[in-house]
């Protein structure tokens, strides 16, 4: 019987076999069977079991790696041990769901130690890339490869952004045995899922604090990397491992002038809807209205009026005044200020001379800024969305939300940022500044109850449109 030959081709496995292996299809263009890289493990196991013929497997092209990769200082807490154990038992495939700050990084490094073969860690942002690089290098004592932000080196442990992994999947896909996804809730997006589909790594771990997605795409994750193997909620860890936190919601009146302008614009919007008998009673209806406005100048004017009204509500001066009070009242706390739009970021930065971070901030400046914050030479930072995920910003005990979206996931992430266990830290506070009697009030309650009925526009978790119907800037929507 003829031996079976396997090779890797740009994200797929080419198979020459007398027997048909599962998950493969005949590719007439090259006259061979082809399967997605994802199924490498299944195919190899099938061939082993079937004992039909010798197998010549030329799929993997692993980089050189040390005989053993061991963590130097890390010791797992009880729940971390259980999480890793569960993952191991599940065939070393699956997702671990733990609140932000519960030490998912440590679990990943222990997994690398356990598997002891080349691994790649996929992260959503360049900030996280830096953070992981530093920690892994220190902990495992090896040189780490990086793909993203201009660098491209493959080493036994490599860190890569979702974007780079997506673009380079064809080249990188067969170079690792272990695939770790940080913030794995990004993975099921239409494009990013191809990363899991084009990589051949038999062992996969996903990490996140928020597994469920509003668009239900998390249902793809079991196929892509396995099911949830371990899960804890913030309440389970609060007190013992994570700092307690307190949510304060502050309603603020608009100034008279703002009230009047808000009313004027909002009425212009609702009048148009009435006159044209348009009802916006669901996210889909709203989407349709947005599409309509891109072709109909009158509709567009109405949409812009609505956006202006919302902008007034979100960015009201009264809120910035209240922010001043908060800054004044808490001189010894380190404070993080979140806002949706760059305009407000600059207004706050200008007024209080506070360091700011936007998507345009350079890698170097961002890094330096976070360092200064950590060391205490900056007592507050104002940022637009960018620090959302998983970034280590320890010692921040107060968070202020100047404006936010209705997505529950984002709320949890932002909350999580403050939940860092550190010595002698009292309760952390999350202060939400809300404008009275505006649609923002509705947004806020939606956020708190964590409802999954969808906000006005999908939150695409990352760059892209603002999740609250804002998309003014024609920003390119993210890959998902």
């Amino acid at each position: 019987m003829q031996p079976t030959y396997l090779s890797y081709d740009r994200g797929t496995i080419l198979i020459k076999s007398d027997a048909k292996v599962p998950y493969s299809a005949w590719d007439d263009r090259v006259k061979a069977f082809r399967a997605q890289g994802l199924y490498y493990r299944e195919i190899v196991e099938f061939l082993k079991k079937s004992e039909l013929s010798a197998v010549k497997d030329a799929v993997e092209d692993l980089p050189p790696h040390p005989a053993s990769m061991k963590c130097r200082t890390v010791a797992l807490r009880g729940y971390q041990k259980r999480a890793l154990g569960a993952w191991d038992k599940a065939g070393r495939r699956g997702v671990v769901v733990l609140p932000t700050g519960a030490g998912k990084t440590v679990i990943a490094m222990k997994a690398i130690e356990l598997v002891n073969r080349p691994a790649v860690i996929i992260v959503p942002t360049l900030d996280l890339l830096e953070q992981w690089r530093k920690r892994v290098q220190e902990e495992l004592g090896i040189d780490v490869g990086v793909y993203g932000g201009g660098e491209s080196t493959v080493k036994a442990v490599t860190i890569c952004t979702y974007d780079s992994a997506y673009i380079r999947a064809g080249e990188l896909g067969n170079k690792f045995s272990l695939l770790v996804f940080d913030e794995v809730h990004h993975l099921p997006g239409e494009s990013f899922r191809q990363i899991a589909e084009m990589f051949t790594a038999p062992y996969r771990m996903g990490l996140t604090a928020t597994y469920e997605r509003e668009d239900m795409l998390h249902l793809e994750l079991p196929r892509l990397i396995g099911g949830v193997v371990y899960r804890l909620k913030p309440e389970d860890l609060a007190g013992k491992y994570l700092a307690d936190f307190r949510l304060e919601r502050v309603n603020i009146d608009l100034t008279e002038k703002e009230k009047e302008e808000y009313q004027r614009n909002y009425n212009a919007f609702t009048n148009y809807l009435e006159q044209n008998r348009i009802w916006l009673n669901s996210p889909v209806a709203f989407q349709r209205f947005i599409m309509m406005s891109s072709r109909n100048p009158e509709a567009r004017k109405a949409l812009l009026a609505r956006n202006r009204a919302l902008s007034i509500a979100f960015n009201s001066e009264a809120k910035v005044d209240r922010l001043e009070e908060i800054l004044r009242a808490n001189p010894d706390d380190r404070i993080l200020i979140f806002t949706q739009h760059n305009d407000l970021v600059f207004r706050i930065s200008r007024r209080f001379l506070l360091p700011f971070i936007t998507h345009a901030t350079s890698k170097e400046e961002r890094y330096d800024l976070l360092k200064c914050f950590r060391e205490g030479s900056y007592r507050a930072i104002v940022t637009s969305k960018v620090l959302d995920e998983g970034i280590d910003v320890p010692e921040a005990s107060i968070g202020v939300i100047m404006s936010g979206t209705g997505s529950s996931r984002e709320f949890v992430q932002r909350l999580g940022r403050l939940l860092r266990k550190s010595e002698g830290k009292g309760q952390a506070r999350l202060i939400e500044l809300v404008s009275n009697e505006t649609s923002e009030t509705r947004t806020s309650s939606r956020r708190k109850s964590g409802r999954k009925d969808g906000s006005e526009k999908k939150d695409t978790a990352g760059k892209g449109d603002g999740g609250d119907g804002y998309d003014e800037d024609g920003e390119e929507v993210a890959a998902e």
């Binding site: 080419l14 064809g170 400046e365």
Partner: protein, 542 residues
């Protein structure tokens, strides 16, 4: 290429088409107006520029069109932060002080600025404006390179929206009347899979279908970016057609067809192959992918070896009925051609199919280099059509060079035999070169030279080693040279008589030598040392 949300496209049933901008008075006016804003914006803030562009949008123009044109124009701009100090350092200093002082009121704020500005030796105002001088709105437009004219802008726009539409393509089928080398080089580099068929009804040209490995399993627009970037190379051909399948996710995952050709796009789209895509800049951004390093390495080593054979990458396609094969390499020498195809993964069927295609091409000499670990069975000669070489990581030079030498030798031998056995070579005309004869006979020059070693044609004299000149002509030249002293004059006369290039050889054959007085050509003289020889060769005594 533009961000997808600036694309305006119209669908009708299963067809989709971008909304092209017509090159008419209204559009030209808009293009001019928009470009005017950029031109006027030199030396001013970007924030101002953006405001003025917004005004144009709000004037009732299609905002997507205005933004699309602006996006193209913005790429021709250079923005810089203008400030007395380095903004990053200024911020550090100010923010640190503000933090230390726990400043939050306007008075506290002024105090901070005053303190730091004094330390840095600038005015508080200058310091304050520096703080934000590098944020987008505050950047200053330093340089703007205008397009050749408003119509150029519109044509670039039309190309850009076409590419933006192709971003979402699942696969594409195209034909082009030329520029194959560049097209196929890019296809390979972008990691696309192609299949080629001899073209349509007229039988002219080739039809190429493109998609990628993953397309087998799912509808994916993953390869759309590469297809879009290939477009300018396709458009660089004199005539071309394109048929693409476009996935419109926003409309519920429906697949549309987009078709166009060079005739339809004439005059409304620009076809500058490099400039349109911004060339290498964009390549670097998206990340160029599949450099076939195996082939690169091989090409480098072969060329540094110096075998006398030339190497061409991706030569003209080989036509075999309705099949087309574009080999990876062509070795050429004196009209001899040997092809090389490097095959990564193969099954015997795949290989046989490839070679069967070649079988129908007459006189093609092919070497196939196959990756050994993927070999399904070792095959020495597939139907005697090609030499198959196996390699592990690099394609080995030796077997190929050996083969080339062998081929050269055997070709030469065969040709020499053919010549000797064939009809005698009859020379016509006064001046005949070896290359001419070789061309006529369809043989390599090397072969001819060998065959003609003892060739002594009647009435002709061999001049140098590539010319035969008639006796009569030589005598004519001899006459004309009587009394001529300067070399340059002699050469002129010889050229005028119809013998180009080898004038000095003619002189030699006629028994002249040259006398050099110093190094200037002008001063060289000629003198007859002996009588012209019969055979045109110089006797050994000299």
């Amino acid at each position: 290429m533009l961000p997808s949300n600036l694309l305006r496209a119209r669908t009708s049933r299963d067809r989709i088409r971008p909304l092209y901008v017509a090159v008419d008075a209204a559009s030209l006016a808009l293009a001019e107006k928009t470009e005017g804003i950029f031109r006027d914006g030199v030396g001013r803030r970007k924030g101002e520029l953006l405001e003025r562009l917004k005004e144009v949008e709000d004037e009732g123009n299609d905002f997507k069109l205005v933004r699309g044109l602006s996006a193209l124009l913005e790429r021709r701009c250079t923005f810089e932060a203008e400030s007395a100090l380095n903004p990053v350092e200024a911020r550090r200093a100010v923010f640190k002080e503000a933090s230390r002082a726990r400043a939050s009121s306007p008075e506290e704020r002024s105090a901070v600025l005053l303190k730091v500005s004094t330390e840095l030796g600038v005015s508080p105002d200058a310091l304050e404006s520096t703080l934000f001088s590098d944020i987008e709105d505050e950047l200053i437009l330093k340089d703007f390179r205008p397009f050749r004219g408003p119509d150029t802008i519109l044509k670039y726009y039309n190309l850009a929206v076409t590419q933006t539409l192709l971003f979402k393509s699942l696969r594409v089928e195209f034909s082009a009347s030329g520029n194959w080398k560049n097209i196929f080089r890019d296809i390979k580099r972008f990691g696309l899979i192609y299949s080629v068929e001899r073209g349509g009804d007229e039988g002219e040209g080739y039809k190429v279908s493109l998609d990628g490995p993953l397309s087998l399993f799912k509808m994916t627009e993953r390869y759309g970016t590469s297809i879009a970037r290939l477009l300018p190379q396709i458009m660089a051909a004199d005539s071309w057609t394109i048929k693409a399948e476009i996935l419109a996710r926003r409309r519920g995952g429906k697949v549309y067809r987009f078709e166009t050709d060079s005739e339809e796009m004439m005059g409304i789209i620009t076809n500058v192959a490099r400039g349109a895509t911004g060339g290498d800049d964009q390549q670097r951004q998206v990340g160029l992918l599949y450099d076939s390093t195996t082939e690169e390495k091989f090409a480098k080593s072969f060329l540094s070896y110096g075998t006398g054979w030339g190497l061409k990458r991706e030569p003209e396609p080989l036509i075999a009925g309705t099949h087309v094969l574009i080999p990876d390499f062509l070795f050429e020498k004196d009209g001899m051609k040997v092809y090389l195809e490097v095959v990564g993964f193969w099954t015997p069927q795949y290989l046989e199919r490839k070679l069967a295609k070649l079988g129908s091409i007459a006189g093609v000499d092919m070497i196939v280099a196959a990756e050994e670990s993927l070999a399904c069975s070792k095959l020495e000669r597939l139907r005697g059509k090609a030499l198959v070489i196996y390699y592990k990581r690099e394609v080995p030079l030796k077997p190929i060079i050996d083969h080339l030498r062998e081929r050269e030798a055997s070709i030469v031998i065969k040709q020499v035999e053919k010549l000797k056995g064939g009809e005698a070579i009859a020379l016509k005309g006064d001046v005949v070169s070896i290359e001419e004869i070789a061309n006529q006979k369809g043989v390599a020059v090397a072969s001819l030279k060998m065959a003609l070693q003892d060739f002594k044609p009647e009435g002709y004299v061999k001049v140098g080693d590539r010319l035969f000149v008639s006796r009569a002509k030589l005598d004519e030249i001899d006459e004309k040279l009587r009394g001529v002293e300067r070399l340059v004059d002699a050469l002129e006369i010889i050229e005028a008589a119809g013998v180009k290039d080898d004038g000095s050889k003619v002189l030699e054959a006629l028994g002249y030598t040259s006398i050099w007085d110093g190094i200037e050509m002008d001063k060289v003289r000629i003198a007859k040392k002996r009588a012209a020889t019969e055979t045109g060769t110089v006797p050994p005594s000299e």
